[in-house]
Assembly symmetry: C2
Homo-oligomer: 213 residues x 2
């Protein structure tokens, strides 16, 4: 396990090493958040390679709006890399609470349930924000430089991996939760995110295939 | 455009910024290589969270072999982040060659064709190596700690995004190539990679759904 404070100052190599080693964090949750962030960065690139190019003057204001939004998603997703680690550490701490007396057992169980619910937040944020990135990607593809279609397509692949990865990690936390009403509500929301993401992915990959296959 | 020499020493934030800015590199090709590398790191993590655990003693030798192989793929894919940038720069340099005389035109065209063929190598390597990562991921899932299934699944999502991203970038280079025999041979190879990848992805995602949905 690495110190989370320096996480956003880590080099690519250090991050890869930290994922690979035998501790639970950073794991799939942090990698999903990074994948979403990489997807967002590619959408920004698509916009930046369009702005200022001849023939795209009319879309300038809309493209700048897309860029601003996707940049804020990129930064928020990058911050989630660390938030996911912290939330998971809270779960591990709760599991380590004493469980000798009945009162301790009750308290420990309560803390575990609370920390598991909270640990579902970062991956849910990753999934929901990656869907927003996918929507912005579709807008950028419609308004942007067609020469950047493969970068947009790779952006959507990364955002989609982040969306699904986020969903998997929410589901893992849900599986240990007692509050079944909450679990059902979350599962419904995850299905919605997934279906919307599927649709956008298909649309953009269809376009890239038309152009380069 | 950033100096490629320091690319592997870049922090996550610096890399994300470099992708987002309005230059052609690092772009989808480098992001795909990084995605493959992240997928490989997650497979290593799955193995590392299995080794030493009770009940997995019999698989120790095989798991160590998987870890060694996937680690070398992780490092090779991480190195491809920079190789992709360099290869693309060679293409841009070729396009800038003088084209006044007939001799210059002939020479320029030849250099462009040569650089395009070479620029297809890094993304082809990314695609082929990411498929190897997916195969090792499947082995790790079969032999590893079932509690790490979601990390393995996210690993396969990232490796699959890298496989497809690599394919897109090879196809872009092929689209400007005159050597049609070479193009057809490559397209056939890409189809094979894609189909094999699809199969493994479906199998691992099926398993994760069984466990956590």
């Amino acid at each position: 396990m690495v110190q989370e404070k320096k996480k956003d100052e880590m080099t690519l190599t250090q991050f890869l090493e930290a994922v690979a080693e035998g501790s639970a964090t950073p794991g799939g949750g942090s990698v999903s958040a990074l994948a979403g962030s990489l997807g967002a960065a590619l959408v920004e690139m698509v916009v930046n390679l369009t702005l200022g190019k001849k023939g795209f003057e009319a879309q300038e204001a809309e493209l700048k709006k897309i860029r601003q939004e996707v940049r804020s998603h990129r930064e928020a997703l990058a911050a989630t890399i660390v938030q996911d680690i912290k939330a998971y550490q809270e779960v591990m701490i709760a599991y380590l609470l004493p469980k000798t007396s009945e009162e301790e057992k009750r308290k420990r169980k309560e803390e575990i349930q609370k920390s598991l619910k909270k640990a579902a937040d970062p991956p849910l944020f990753t999934a929901a924000t990656s869907l927003k990135v996918m929507k912005l990607c579709q807008e950028a593809v419609e308004k942007g430089n067609p020469n950047t279609i493969s970068d947009a397509a790779i952006g959507v692949l990364l955002a989609d991996a982040a969306l699904l990865g986020g969903i998997f990690n929410v589901l893992i936390n849900l599986s240990a939760l007692d509050d079944k009403t909450y679990v059902e509500k979350m599962k419904k929301e995850l299905r919605r995110l997934r279906l919307e993401g599927e649709k956008i992915k298909k649309s953009i990959l269809g376009r890239v295939k038309e152009k380069i296959y």
